[in-house]
């Protein structure tokens, strides 16, 4: 049977119509509002002027946006570089069964259950040098620390806060992946005399590929869209040190009420995430293939 034998049946479109309608109302139509704003100058609800790609050009030339984008990319990169290895390490050291496993799972998951703005507030207080545990402790150790005063401290605090908040997600995903490896693999490795490192390199890591891909994409997208925690903790400051893309966007849209440029930037933001996810996904897919071909030529 060849595919060319298949009859063309246009009725199939009817079958996916419900999905098209659902997606239209939930995603495409709301997005169209943004598209609508992005090509108009709305002076007042009654007076709107079509401006074409003017806003896009303006936004692309915006120096502030460039530095926010750079900051954002650095932040997401740091998040991935810390959270993924740390999550794997955590998952590897978690007990596999018994009451200890349940207890550890609950403990690890706690930070995931805390709402974003509460996380921000927790760290805001935690880092205060007058009453916060972290702030006071650092102060007593003689380390100068102020997330409101120093750009570096603010940046590090936001990063550590994200690591604290989201590494458990990576750990839980990896933990599930590790538990799915049949015991026979470990037994065979034991018989083959494999070291712990070899077991990790040749059994655990390859078997974790699928969940790691999900973890990387989720953590990338989430960190790239981070808003609430830095907003609560630092408000984007000091200066612009922790103003990430969504913060910048909100300032434009809600703070200055520049709906046109904000809409134009929203679309660009959306496309950047889409593009980076696409690149990341394909890169990770190829990574799996490559290790295979590398082994062949070894």
């Amino acid at each position: 049977m060849s595919s060319s034998m298949k009859p063309v049946n246009q009725k199939a479109w009817l079958l996916i119509l419900p999905v098209i309608i659902c997606v239209a109302f939930s995603a495409i139509l709301p997005l169209m509002t943004v598209v609508n704003y992005s090509v108009q100058d709305i002076i007042s609800p009654e007076r709107t002027v079509y401006v074409g790609t003017e806003w896009f050009k303006q936004v692309m030339r915006d120096e502030e946006l460039h530095s926010a984008l750079l900051r954002q990319i650095l932040f997401s990169l740091a998040v991935l570089l810390i959270e993924i290895p740390l999550g794997i390490a955590l998952a590897l050291s978690m007990p596999a069964q018994g009451w200890k496993a349940s207890a550890v799972l609950v403990l690890v998951a706690i930070s995931l259950l805390i709402p974003w703005n509460v996380v921000g507030t927790i760290w805001q207080i935690y880092g205060r040098t007058d009453i916060g545990l972290l702030g006071v402790a650092l102060d007593k150790l003689g380390i100068e620390y102020s997330y409101t005063g120093s750009a570096r401290d603010a940046w590090l605090t936001v990063l550590i806060m994200d690591v604290w908040h989201w590494t458990p997600l990576v750990a839980l995903l990896c933990y599930a992946g590790l538990r799915a490896i049949p015991n026979a693999y470990y037994q065979a490795a034991q018989i083959d005399g494999a070291s712990k490192l070899a077991i990790f390199r040749y059994i655990q890591l390859p078997k974790l590929r699928g969940v790691l891909m999900i973890a990387v994409l989720l953590r990338f997208m989430d960190s790239f869209m981070i808003y609430t925690e830095p907003f609560v903790l630092t408000g984007g400051g000091p200066g612009n040190a922790t103003t990430f893309l969504s913060q910048y966007l909100t300032q434009k849209a809600v703070g200055q009420f520049d709906l046109g440029p904000a809409a134009a930037f929203s679309l660009i933001y959306f496309l950047i995430i889409l593009l980076l996810c696409f690149i990341l996904y394909n890169w990770m897919q190829q990574l799996g293939q490559q290790t295979r071909t590398e082994d062949i030529h070894e």
């Binding site: 018989i191 083959d192 005399g193 070291s195 040749y202 082994d295």
Partner: protein
């Protein structure tokens, strides 16, 4: 390479009370260096437990394991230097076939030249040479299992190679081929092979010595011939052979044998010991049951309930009272009809007598 001595018992429960709690009842046995053994028994009889105890994946709850006179009871599989092949293929996905085969050697720091030579040799034996450079993950199940087998065989200095039903995932026609290959490899490499299976054909064709197990107990260790001719336990008679042995309750009283109320005049008299044993069980292989004339000595009247044509021979199922008697008759004998009463001879030099399931004498 070494002689393996076992003197142990194992229970997965912390405080075993009755025999039921034991996965392996106390047993004492030894595997000679370079032998080909099969552990045969139904599922859940403890054969895999025994295998995992030998390899060191499980520590016996009682007793000890000795390799070549040295105690290894508490040693890891690495320290015991043992190879084991599992029921389902275990391969390292990211490696090529060659790297998979080389893995156990590399982990032990064998020189690259030696690894190359050995991997080539094993791949040749298992007909994997053409695939050596391809990634292991894309292969079919039987090729993957061959890699698993290869990893088990690649080390030349192992104490023993253990196989845990390794041919389960293999197609029947390939099974024959691989089994022959394994036998040949055994002859060439002169390693101790211990092969777990629930398939009697597999066990009998592969092994020099078959260890028959049931419910955590080793009931007989012997060659294929011994297991067939003189089963030491009714389970062996029942499990080996197709169909298994016939068992009939027999009264031995005053030097006479009575089967289901029929007194037998004996052409070949069993020993005095049996004749005075009281209630015993008579065992005879269907292959040795013969059709005789009504008045022949030792003839038992049975009612034929089923006649099966199994190609080269007939299989007769019949009833003697409540007991089933099966007979395998060659294709050229006149075949009785269902419902007929025919006379069968069950006493011969092949007849075995059992008391409490154990062979007498």
């Amino acid at each position: 390479m070494a002689r393996l001595d076992l003197d142990l018992a194992h229970s997965y429960k912390a405080n075993p009370q009755s025999d039921e709690d034991y996965a392996l009842l106390p047993l004492k046995m030894c595997f000679e260096d370079g032998g080909a053994y099969a552990l045969l028994g139904p599922s859940g009889c403890g054969k895999t437990t025994l295998l995992n105890i030998i390899s060191g994946l499980i520590r016996p709850s009682q007793g000890s394991v000795h390799f070549g006179g040295n105690e290894v009871t508490n040693k890891t599989p690495q320290a015991r230097n043992i190879a084991q092949v599992f029921q389902f293929p275990v391969i390292y996905d990211t490696m090529t076939v060659a790297d998979n085969l080389a893995f156990p050697l590399r982990n032990r720091g064998v020189a690259p030249a030696q690894i190359k030579q050995r991997v080539g040799q094993i791949a040749e034996m298992l007909e994997l040479s053409a695939q050596l450079d391809s990634p292991a993950s894309g292969l079919a199940a039987d090729a993957k299992q061959k890699i698993s087998l290869g990893r088990g065989l690649v080390r030349s200095d192992v104490s023993a190679v253990l196989f845990d039903e390794p041919l389960t995932v293999i197609d029947p026609h390939l099974k024959w081929k691989l089994r022959r290959t394994l036998k040949q490899i055994h002859r060439e490499l002169k390693l101790t092979f211990i092969y777990v299976t629930h398939d009697q054909v597999e066990a009998l064709t592969f092994a020099e010595q078959v260890v028959v197990m049931t419910r955590g107990r080793v009931v007989q260790v012997g060659s294929a011939d011994a297991l067939f001719e003189r089963p030491k336990h009714t389970f062996v008679g029942h499990f080996i052979g197709s169909p298994g042995m016939n068992f009939l309750p027999v009264q031995c009283r005053d030097g006479n044998l009575q089967v289901s109320g029929v007194a037998l005049t004996l052409p070949l008299s069993p020993s005095q010991e049996i004749l005075n044993a009281g209630q015993v069980t008579l065992g005879i292989r269907p292959e040795y049951v013969t059709l005789v004339e009504k008045d022949a000595p030792g003839a038992l009247p049975v009612t034929v309930s089923q006649v099966l044509d199994i190609g080269a021979y007939w299989l007769i199922n019949s009833f003697l009272g409540n007991s089933v008697v099966r007979a395998r008759l060659s294709g050229d004998t006149p075949v009785p009809q269902v419902g007929d009463t025919v006379w069968l001879k069950v006493i011969s030099e092949h007849t075995c007598y059992y008391k409490n399931e154990e062979l007498l004498i």
